[in-house]
């Protein structure tokens, strides 16, 4: 093989790699770019044929989101986006707090004690990851209507435990098990009770893992759509259900919907940067590290 043939081969290889990188980048990023552009367009620019890349940007769509129900022709039916955002915050924070409070002792028990039924319990919790939501939401809807939990933050926080509790217990357990057992034994010999082991050894040493679990749990709550679609009302809709309210019978408010999707996705994009390394672990309930 001549040196020219080698360099030619190297060049084709580089071109192929560059092309593949560009395709992958465009496929991943272009939808975000386009939606961002759409959210900055006036209604005229949005429906222009052909679509425009150059236009006078406007923040009207975002203003309309913030101003919410107080303004506009369809004032009564207009989605109240600031409230949806607040709802998402309340429900997600509440659900994660409850799951972590119940999950820390449970994960500690599953990680460090042997008792009958331990594996069965862990398995039952894991299986919630794969259960069709509709099997839960139908009876929950009936119960919630009866007991006044329908369209309440408390009801949604309880329903979200289906998402966060199994996840929290499995993630925390996998982090707790990474702590060498020798440290715990040494503490016990020094007279530490189980509570002391948990408070002075396990929790401080797994603080990063707990933060990751909290952030990922919050993100999964933020993404939730099924449960609130059926169990929330206009006063308690989170952003995910709120964003589809821009599709009404008479029209689709494309610009505002684009702005809403950007606002709904933004916390996720920022948080995912913080927990980059742990996302796959979180999505597989700790199966892949």
């Amino acid at each position: 093989m001549t040196s020219r043939a080698v360099s030619y081969q190297r060049l084709t290889r580089r071109v192929v790699i560059a092309l593949a990188s560009v395709v992958l980048l465009v496929w991943t990023v272009f939808p975000f770019v386009w939606i961002l552009l759409t959210s900055l367009k006036s209604p005229g620019d949005i429906i222009s044929v052909p679509p425009t890349f150059v236009f006078t940007p406007t923040v009207d769509n975002y203003t309309a989101l913030v101003v919410g129900e107080q303004r506009g022709q369809y004032a009564s039916t207009r989605p109240d986006f600031p409230r949806f955002f607040l709802n998402s915050m309340i429900i997600s924070v509440g659900a994660v707090a409850l799951s972590v409070a119940a999950g820390i002792p449970a994960a500690y028990a599953l990680a460090r004690f042997t008792f009958p039924g331990k594996n069965a319990l862990a398995f039952v919790l894991l299986s919630f990851r794969f259960v069709p939501f509709i099997a839960f939401v139908i009876p929950l809807y009936i119960l919630y209507q009866r007991f006044g939990l329908y369209n309440t933050h408390a009801g949604l926080i309880l329903a979200y435990q289906l998402i966060t509790l199994p996840f929290t217990v499995w993630m925390l357990r996998s982090f707790f098990m990474e702590i060498p057992i020798e440290i715990q034994e040494a503490a016990k010999i020094d007279g530490c009770s189980w509570l002391g082991v948990l408070g002075r050894i396990i929790l401080p040493l797994s603080a990063p893992g707990i933060s990751v679990t909290v952030i990922l749990g919050f993100m999964f709550c933020w993404n939730a759509f099924n449960y609130p679609l059926m169990l929330a009302g206009r006063q308690t809709f989170p952003v995910t259900v709120g964003a589809i309210q821009f599709i009404s019978y008479e029209q689709v408010l494309w610009g505002q919907m684009a702005a809403a999707t950007i606002v709904a996705a933004l916390p996720q994009l920022l948080l995912s940067l913080m927990v980059q390394k742990y996302i796959v672990r979180g999505l597989t309930m700790g199966a892949v590290k």
């Binding site: 790699i17 593949a20 990188s21 992958l24 980048l25 991943t28 990023v29 939808p31 975000f32 386009w34 429906i47 044929v49 052909p50 679509p51 409850l98 119940a102 002792p105 449970a106 028990a109 004690f113 008792f115 919790l125 990851r129 794969f130 259960v131 069709p132 509709i134 099997a135 139908i138 009876p139 809807y141 009936i142 435990q161 289906l162 509790l165 217990v169 993100m219 933020w222 993404n223 759509f225 099924n226 995910t240 964003a243 589809i244 494309w254 919907m257 999707t261 709904a264 996705a265 996720q268 994009l269 948080l271 995912s272 980059q276 996302i279 796959v280 999505l283 597989t284 892949v288 590290k289």
Partner: protein, 299 residues
């Protein structure tokens, strides 16, 4: 006779249950509605006609067999899962192999790929809904025109709707498969490759005889998670086609939703949900066996 030591030991025996108590209470709170749901699937519960409530044994399940929509929804559920898993795991493997090679900017690409993965699926669907507008203002049809593709009626036609849902689901979940497999590739030690090189194996042979066998547990894991999620896909379909047109994208979850929350026939909806659950259990059992085999073969 109780010495302090034995008392302590007895306390330790009950301790795990004490620690588990809060989680167990929540768990019971989840299992109770689930049990109630199974019961409802054996009744003719119709929210608007509470007086007619009656226990009907397996009538709802038997009725399903005679319902054409159920057969189609079952077909679509299984068919969509097969295609989505094949497409996503196939492409995900390609992307993982690509990123595993020392590509310039791979860290940046990897970070960017987290974006579609972590935003709400329903938001993903709405983003694509904007891009897939079937009018001439839709950016996707506009771009496709440059490569000579006629405008596609994305959500309006039977085929278009199925393909749209597949594309949107793939955009959101391809990064998941790619990242799992990339993690798997990075976990493979270098010795097998060196041994293969000594034996004179080329790149294709290395892929076939070293990479794939050692990666197989990760591939099965990716298939498992994607299959479970594809069987239950709801958000994307609900926000784009709502099961249409002509029920072309109605899967079991959408069908159960329509029965129970549009027509308020909770009994029938719950029976459909149980069929879907059974399907999920069967598929997860089969995949778990496959996983055990893959894990054993790599040891």
């Amino acid at each position: 006779m109780t010495t302090p030591g034995s008392r302590r030991r007895r306390r330790e025996r009950f301790l795990p249950y004490l620690l588990l108590a809060p989680a167990l209470i929540l768990l019971v709170g989840m299992l109770y509605p689930f049990g109630l749901g199974i019961y409802y699937s054996l009744t003719n519960y119709w929210l608007q006609y509470p007086n007619r409530f009656r226990f009907v044994w397996f009538d709802n399940y038997v009725d399903l067999l005679g319902e054409p929509l159920f057969v189609r929804a079952l077909e679509f559920t299984i068919g969509f899962t097969l295609v989505a898993v094949a497409v996503q795991v196939g492409l995900g493997l390609a992307v993982a192999l690509f990123l595993h090679a020392r590509i310039p900017g791979r860290r940046a690409i990897r970070a960017l790929m987290l974006m579609p993965l972590m935003i709400p699926p329903v938001i993903t669907a709405l983003m694509w809904k904007i891009m897939m507008a079937s009018t001439n203002a839709g950016i996707l049809n506009y771009l496709l025109a440059f490569v000579g593709v006629d405008p596609i009626n994305w959500f309006g036609s039977t085929q278009g709707a199925i393909i749209s849902v597949l594309i949107i689901d793939t955009w959101g979940n391809l990064p998941f498969v790619a990242l799992i497999l990339l993690g798997g590739l990075q976990a493979i030690p270098t010795e097998p490759y060196e041994a293969a090189r000594v034996d004179g194996a080329g790149p294709v042979a290395m892929l076939r005889y070293v990479t794939f066998p050692l990666l197989s547990p990760f591939i099965v894991l990716a298939i498992t998670f994607r299959a479970m999620d594809s069987l239950r896909i709801f958000d994307v379909i609900y926000a784009t086609t709502a099961g249409g047109p002509n029920d072309a994208t109605t899967n079991l979850q959408i069908m159960a939703y329509q029965y129970s929350f549009q027509w308020y026939q909770m009994g029938k909806g719950m029976a459909q949900a149980m069929v879907l659950l059974l399907l999920v259990v069967i598929v997860s059992y089969l995949l778990m066996r496959l996983w055990n085999r893959a894990a054993e073969s790599t040891q």
